[in-house]
């Protein structure tokens, strides 16, 4: 309800500035944080700002009075990875200019590695380890830290086999606790009594002189680390181990979806959102296609189009012998038994009034030819397979944790024995430690049942881990599609490279260079002519504005670019294409939680 400029000015006037002074300073601050046309923007309202710009305004507000301490609580959770990189650049600059100390709260290990000088790891309300970021990352002293660093899928290398997931789930904040909170999940414990009876004290550890202090709260921190056993019940698996069948299961040809925008008195169509603009791809039996892109690129719409939850504007979607786009009711229902979907938010995708058993059985119930007892038997069978207790099938969704709910959703998706499962950000809403469990489960199921997956995600590390092939989308178009290996070791499209370079990797010691992708995604109602990426592309030339580049094969990958990059890619150099200066780290404290948010 209040204009942006006024909100920034308020914090100045509250601490003793005059009104006009504050207003001027507000405009200056907006300029400093990179908001274009700051004077005009200051008069606007929050709903007219994009998410990234709102965060910039928040940073401006926080920096207005030149604070000594800046507390950033998950500042980039809701923004795209490219904007995240820009925002951290900004925070770095702000920190430098004012000499402020920064307390950064985050769950993202990559963010910690790239931005922090020191790290504090928390679990169940206590600090379990702290120290300089290099030391903690290379030689973690607490089993939880170790486990956390190991269970995250990596962007810079393939994780062979299953992820080393941490068994169990985050602790219940309301439960009584004796001893170390991490003990039930700790591989280091090895059945020892002490962990269950005494809470370990945070003790200092030997460090080299001149370095900040290191501490750890573990009874056995000095022992050599015991590695986490692979997930129980899941044999080591390789994503992509099963060689895919040659015949395509799903064939998408020139799929288009445009949404009309209605405005004005008579709801005239004044424009169109080009959500999905002429994309084609196939998925073979037993194959996982990862679909990545930032918000607004059309990846979620694509998955909904495949099941015709949204009507395509034009194009073909062929599943087996059925043409989904034009299928009649009966064929469509048949297809919807062969193809199932898992949604992002497990709580929202389960009917809150039905038990989890009823939720899972619903596809069978709709099919109509299975008796109640048979349905229940099937549910029990699947629950066991996905790691849930069949005895709990009568409980309601809200009684389960996020990871468990997602398992219910997976059971529901598998209950009709589908061939293709569409997964729309299935692990994005889960805690890091739970994420690994679910990913392992998905990989196992795929192998056992020869499933194909369409895995939509914005998280590139996850996509790298689980996919066989990857497609990158930008503003409704596929800009690059090819085998996973090539995509991550030799990306050809400038956008892909920029995207990869923006993702912070949980390894310290890399040069901190500027954000590789500047600016924001153009509006999907008015995409740039020719190549849509050209407005942000360092390699753009005139032809890019005139001619839209088709997908051409370049060494096994299809790329839509007039000037594909042929140099190899090395994630450890953090992107040779980046521009921007290397900044010297100043003092910053970073706190990270891999556990549930209420732990802090």
């Amino acid at each position: 309800m209040q204009r942006i400029g006024d909100q920034i000015a308020e914090i100045i006037t509250l601490h003793g500035g005059t009104r006009s002074e504050a207003q001027r300073r507000a405009v200056d601050l907006l300029d400093m944080v990179g908001v274009p046309q700051p004077a005009t923007r200051a008069r606007q309202f929050p709903h007219q700002f994009s998410g990234g710009m709102c965060q910039r305004a928040m940073i401006a507000m926080a920096m207005a009075n030149r604070p000594q301490l800046l507390i950033a609580d998950e500042p980039t959770t809701a923004v795209d990875v490219s904007v995240q990189a820009q925002l951290f650049d900004l925070l770095r600059t702000a920190k430098q200019d004012t000499g402020a100390a920064v307390l950064l709260i985050t769950h993202d290990m990559g963010v910690v590695a790239e931005n922090a000088d020191r790290v504090c790891v928390m679990y169940a309300g206590r600090v379990v380890e702290s120290g300089p970021v290099d030391d903690v990352f290379t030689q973690p002293a607490h089993p939880y830290t170790r486990a956390l660093l190991n269970c995250v899928p990596r962007l810079d290398r393939d994780v062979d086999g299953a992820l080393a997931a941490i068994p169990g789930g985050p602790p219940d904040p309301m439960a009584e606790r004796r001893g170390c909170a991490f003990a039930p999940r700790c591989p280091q414990r090895q059945g020892r009594e002490l962990c269950g009876s005494e809470i370990p004290v945070l003790l200092g550890m030997p460090t080299s002189p001149g370095k900040p202090q290191r501490t750890a709260a573990c009874h056995f921190s000095t022992e050599p680390p015991v590695s986490m056993e692979p997930d129980e019940g899941a044999a080591p698996s390789r994503a992509g181990e099963v060689p895919p069948d040659d015949e395509p299961l799903l064939e998408v040809t020139q799929l288009v979806k445009r949404f009309a925008i209605r405005k004005g008195v008579l709801s005239r169509t004044v424009g169109e959102v080009h959500a999905v603009d002429d994309i084609s791809f196939t998925i073979r039996r037993g194959e996982t296609l990862g679909l990545v892109g930032e918000s607004g690129c059309g990846k979620s719409t694509t998955s909904r189009l495949l099941l015709r939850l949204v009507e395509p504007t034009s194009g073909d979607i062929r599943i087996g012998s059925v043409e989904v786009a034009t299928a009649g009711r009966r064929s469509l229902t048949a297809v919807r038994q062969r193809v199932q979907m898992v949604f992002q938010d497990p709580l929202a995708s389960l009917n809150p009034r039905w038990s989890v058993g009823e939720n899972a059985a619903e596809p069978l119930r709709l099919r109509g030819d299975v008796s109640r007892s048979e349905r229940m038997a099937r549910v029990h069978e699947l629950f066991e397979r996905v790691g849930l207790l069949p005895a709990h099938s009568g409980r309601l969704p809200h009684e389960f944790s996020g990871g468990q709910r997602q398992r219910v959703a997976i059971a529901r998706a598998l209950i009709t024995d589908p061939e293709l499962v569409l997964l729309d950000e299935p692990v994005s809403a889960l805690d890091v430690s739970v994420q690994a469990q679910v990913l392992n489960l998905l990989a196992d199921l795929k192998r056992e049942r020869q499933l194909s997956y369409l895995f939509v995600s914005h998280d590139l590390s996850v996509v790298r881990h689980i996919s066989d092939r990857v497609a990158v989308m930008y503003l409704g178009k596929i800009v690059e599609i090819g085998p996973k290996r090539t995509m991550f070791t030799a990306p050809r499209h400038p956008y892909t490279r920029a995207l990869l370079a923006s993702v912070p990797v949980p390894e310290t010691g890399r040069a901190r260079t500027g954000a590789p992708l500047q600016g924001e995604v153009p509006s999907p109602t008015d995409p740039p002519t020719g190549c849509r990426f050209r407005t942000r592309c360092p390699r753009a030339e005139d032809v890019c504005a005139e001619v839209e580049p088709p997908l051409n094969d370049v060494g096994g990958t299809a790329v839509a670019c007039h000037f594909p990059v042929l140099e190899p890619w090395d994630q450890t150099i953090a992107g040779a294409d980046r521009t921007g200066d290397t900044t010297m780290p100043s003092d910053a404290n970073v706190m990270t939680t891999g556990g549930p948010r209420h732990a802090h």
């Binding site: 959770t77 949604f343 709580l347 929202a348 995708s349 009917n351 809150p352 709709l366 890091v432 549930p596």
Partner: protein, 289 residues
Amino acid sequence: MRTELLRRFLTDRWSVVALAFLLAMLLSSLLNGSLTGFEATATSSDTLIGPSPVHWLGSDELGRDSASRLMFGARSSLLVAAGSALAAALVGVPLGVLAGYFGRAVDAIAMRIIDVILAVPTVLVALVFIAALGPSTTNMIIAIASASAPQFARLARAGTLEIRERDFVLAERAMGAGHLTIMVRVVLPNILAPLIVQFVVTAAGAIVVAAGLSFLGLGIPPPEPTWGGMLQQAKAYMYQSPWYGIFPGVVLTLTVIALDRIGASLRRAMGSTQDLGRASASAPGRGAT
């Protein structure tokens, strides 16, 4: 979940009291005169006296015992309340769900009609109906139900619109469910909470409107005793017996308070279970459980 609801409802002492009060009233209305020793229609020569050992709450201009009449009057009040609320729900809810689910043309037409009716307060709509149809219990129920149905429609529509976008409805479609199935099995049970509360609220309002109509002489015709009718007579005898006008109003108010209390308690009890379904969902992004 139902036992959970009941438990939460019972923790609110006042609403339990309210419920007890209503039940007591219902019970006493069915016993004609056994409690007070007088029949509701029996006249006597003790006219317009205040509260006394014989006539606990006084008597009216024909010597009839006020307390008995009040108890008897509860019958029609509660009947009209329950009847109108039920009728309004049966008409309004399907309309609202259809409008919210299908949207566009269906929605536009339905909403225009509802807007007209909603634009006018219940009393007037009821007045117009009674003026056309003539006073009687059935007509009163029809009149009040017509005025209250739009509220149900609006609530049902709002709930449907919100539920329609949720993932589990999308999931139902993805699994191949048809529209009718979705509306009845998925949408309806999930929008019940505000509708139940509205039921109680409508019932409470119906009592007041019915009393108002009776007060104006357009309610249930005599000799059936009604609370509003008693108030109408009370106004004429204002100077002779102030008590005449106080008690019917007190009973009316208490009944409505009781219903309101139950409604608020239900809203609270159901609101919490709904919130449980939404708590985690509103903490988006990576890192949340």
